[in-house]
């Protein structure tokens, strides 16, 4: 799957029914009909790198830290492309390690939304921490996990 740089014409990809900041941003099932969709802001400063797969998904590296060579990764898939999550994740990690030359990529995963554990492990991620009450979902705080992938030079 080929990533390319974000353009203004890709703005429609930045709004969807995924949770904010999710490593594998798949639309949340049973979301209340009046709930506002999540919107990701277009890149505006050097702490963010954004790529897209046209018509399919966005990939955002945020909190980019060039001293520590790390970034938090989040993605957002269109509803018709949820099966492409695994390939997208591998492409994103490859972009982070080979193009941005990062040492570490990490991201949030919310187990209440169904964790694609096999896809995460195949992309090189490991579970590093579980934070209780980390995000508000369905009227209550739920736990969130931090998964990280480290590049071994």
């Amino acid at each position: 799957m080929m990533l390319r740089g974000y353009r203004d014409s890709d703005r429609a990809l930045l709004t969807g029914y995924w949770l904010p900041g999710e490593l594998v941003g798949r639309p949340v099932a049973d979301r209340p009909p009046l709930a506002e969709p999540t919107t990701v802001t277009p890149p505006a400063d050097p702490t963010t790198e954004m790529c897209v797969v046209p018509g399919t998904a966005f990939v955002r590296f945020t909190d980019l830290d060039w001293v520590n060579r790390r970034a938090r990764l989040e993605t957002g898939l269109r509803p018709e492309a949820v099966d492409d999550g695994e390939v997208l994740l591998k492409s994103a990690v490859s972009h982070g390690f080979r193009v941005l030359n990062l040492h570490r990529v990490y991201g949030w995963v919310t187990p209440a939304c169904g964790v694609p554990v096999a896809a995460l492990r195949d992309a090189g991620f490991q579970l590093e921490a579980t934070v209780p009450d980390a995000i508000w979902l369905d009227g209550r705080p739920v736990e969130r996990q931090l998964w990280g992938a480290v590049r071994h030079d």
Binding site: D65, V131, D133, A134, W136, P141
Partner: protein, 149 residues
């Protein structure tokens, strides 16, 4: 009794600069590799608040996805300052739980351990300094956990 005082961005930067090595990793900043302008812009960008209690600097950052949860940082091993700070945040910001990411060899680890925080994970190779990558410990506590400690 030493009072807790909120510092403006310039005061926070000066405090972090003075704390030196003990402030490395303070809410994700690093006064050793970042100059004053960068430290100030980073604290502003993430929406951090810095407080002073004696010689200890304490940092607070709200979790935007869960406003009752706060990210904390400290520059000392003094558990009393941290306990006072969580009580302050519980009262004035309505925080009910606290998370901290602390370099594994930081002096602040002792403060979080003594305050009833429990280790919930380890971020591998999260911080680069002194020529190699270091792990960072993640701590968590509820307001009740801190009160009981």
């Amino acid at each position: 009794m030493t009072e807790m005082r909120r510092l403006d961005i310039a005061g926070g930067v000066a405090g972090l600069r003075a704390a030196g090595d003990q402030a490395r990793g303070f809410l994700g900043t690093d006064p050793v590799t970042q100059n004053d302008a960068l430290l100030g812009s980073e604290l502003t960008r993430i929406g951090a608040q810095v407080y002073g209690h004696g010689d200890t600097l304490l940092g607070y950052l709200p979790n935007v996805d869960q406003p009752r949860q706060a990210y904390l940082a400290s520059t000392s091993s003094d558990p009393d300052a941290l306990r006072l700070f969580t009580a302050f945040l519980g009262t004035y910001q309505r925080c009910t739980s606290y998370v901290a990411t602390v370099p594994a060899d930081s002096v602040a680890v002792g403060a979080f351990d003594a305050c009833g925080f429990r280790r919930i994970g380890m971020l591998r190779d999260h911080q680069y300094r002194s020529g190699r990558y270091h792990d960072v410990v993640m701590f968590f506590a509820t307001g009740e956990d801190v009160c009981r400690s």
